[in-house]
Symmetry: C2
Subunit: 284 residues, 2 copies
């Protein structure tokens, strides 16, 4: 938790979405700004309409969220300032005066229904209704005033919409985490909250493409490894208009000696193209 209040943080989803939990995990007293699309979050940050954006980049079960990797490339003035991981804990929510025994129908995003399959199977008589959004399904059951309707969502949504938590921790797989990046403009002074407890960045992310020759990716990775920039994750995304060529996104440990990063980038320039540092930040 970073202790700075009143940060305007844009996120994608309805109020009470898991992304809002990420915002509230990273900042102590934020002003969350809900957005319809991931692109809207990037644009609000770009226009300086908010202080930062908080966006999911990876889920431990389903993998990378490619849309946000692709969007990072389209916004060269945006940089990664922080990282935060949250565990996805699903709850069953009902109306404020509902009991578990009142429930007959359960609404949620298809992924929410799927991730609570074991719990739903133990209530085989409930009808499962796919909805566009987890938090949105809570908003809608509250609006319906129908005591037989439940929603699978974040318990934070109970507070926001005046619903009641009827069952907690109903997800089948408890090892379900989502990793978020906090993004901001690279030309703004680096805010104090990027150094939680005064600690400096210890992780970095870069993106590059390789020249079309054998071993180019390997040489690029060696340039990093030789300078203690240990690889944490690699992700490839296709380059449009150049079939079977890729942009590589790498996350690595950042040593305290920043000259090592500078040296690695200098060598990287020989082996690769379009090298861009996406950000250096404190690991979440």
């Amino acid at each position: 938790m970073v202790h700075q209040s009143n940060i305007r943080a844009a996120f994608q989803g309805e109020r009470g979405a898991y992304s809002e939990t990420a915002v509230r995990t990273f900042f102590s007293d934020p002003l969350p700004v809900p957005c319809r699309h991931f692109l809207d979050v990037f644009q609000l940050v770009q226009n300086r309409s908010v202080d930062c954006g908080v966006l999911p980049f990876e889920n431990a079960l389903t993998g990378s969220i490619h849309e946000n990797f692709d969007l990072l490339l389209q916004f060269p003035e945006i940089t990664i300032l922080g990282e935060v991981k949250i565990r996805i804990e699903h709850s069953l929510l009902g109306l404020a005066d509902a009991q578990l025994s009142d429930i007959r129908q359960v609404l949620s995003h298809p992924q929410g229904l799927l991730q609570c399959e074991a719990f739903l199977d133990s209530h085989g008589d409930w009808e499962r209704i796919p909805h566009y959004d987890t938090a949105g399904s809570v908003a809608d059951i509250v609006k319906s005033k129908d005591i037989s309707k439940g929603a699978i969502a974040n318990s934070l949504a109970a507070e926001i919409y005046g619903a009641r938590v009827l069952a907690e921790g109903i997800e089948t797989n408890r090892e379900n985490y989502t990793r978020f990046f906090v993004i901001g403009r690279s030309d703004e002074p680096r805010p104090e909250w990027t150094k939680p407890l005064g600690l400096a960045a210890d992780k970095g992310s870069i993106v590059f493409s390789t020249r079309d020759k054998p071993g180019a990716l390997l040489e690029a990775m060696q340039a990093l490894a030789a300078r203690q920039l240990n690889l944490q994750k690699i992700e490839s995304r296709p380059i449009h208009g150049k079939p079977w060529t890729y942009m590589f996104y790498l996350d690595f440990d950042l040593p305290a000696n920043r000259d090592l990063l500078t040296e690695a980038l200098e060598e990287l320039a020989f082996h690769s193209e379009n090298v861009r540092v996406l950000g250096v930040y404190r690991r979440g």
Copy 2:
């Protein structure tokens, strides 16, 4: 094109889907077997109900098709026997007696509509109707007998459903390719069609996870590169239940001297876990 006829090849989609084009590009006179889900294709191959399956693994615009990478892991007896790439060429299809000027509504899979946006924009008065499938939208307009309805799909679907091609090459980006793998059972004798024109395999695919220590992926890649197994593609997929750990899928050039592959695999066993050769095959 591989010259062997009467191969029973399962694919995902309706008759006339792009996957059927891939089947007909790879085999000269195949017996295509349409399946509803990717999983069905794997199961038919597993049960020996078909000779092989033809499945998309990568699109040059949208990236890897993760579901099929994940399914490969679930079927250890299935191996990659071939590779085929096709260009995605969209056509506008109408009823057999329709003219372009009759069209008022266009049906297709949302991706099909999106990939022909420039063409659709030049006919601004047409209504765009998202459908579950490209080939399925051709089947449905033919069934409707409504001359004002068009469908965006593969021109192959015109033949199959008795529709008419009203416009060809209407995709905005012509650099749209999809890469398919031909899969079969690893315990069957290797069929003759895996050696087109008598040519031996020149490409391979492996999957492995790395031990949890810095540089493990790099060492694994070096083990391959030192033996001329040049990396063509790398893809990472999360391991369920072990957050932030990955399975790595690598495609590489396969040298004529197969001892090099054996040596590389022996060294790989030191740096990585769960090493599996997914297949060796002739590049498509």
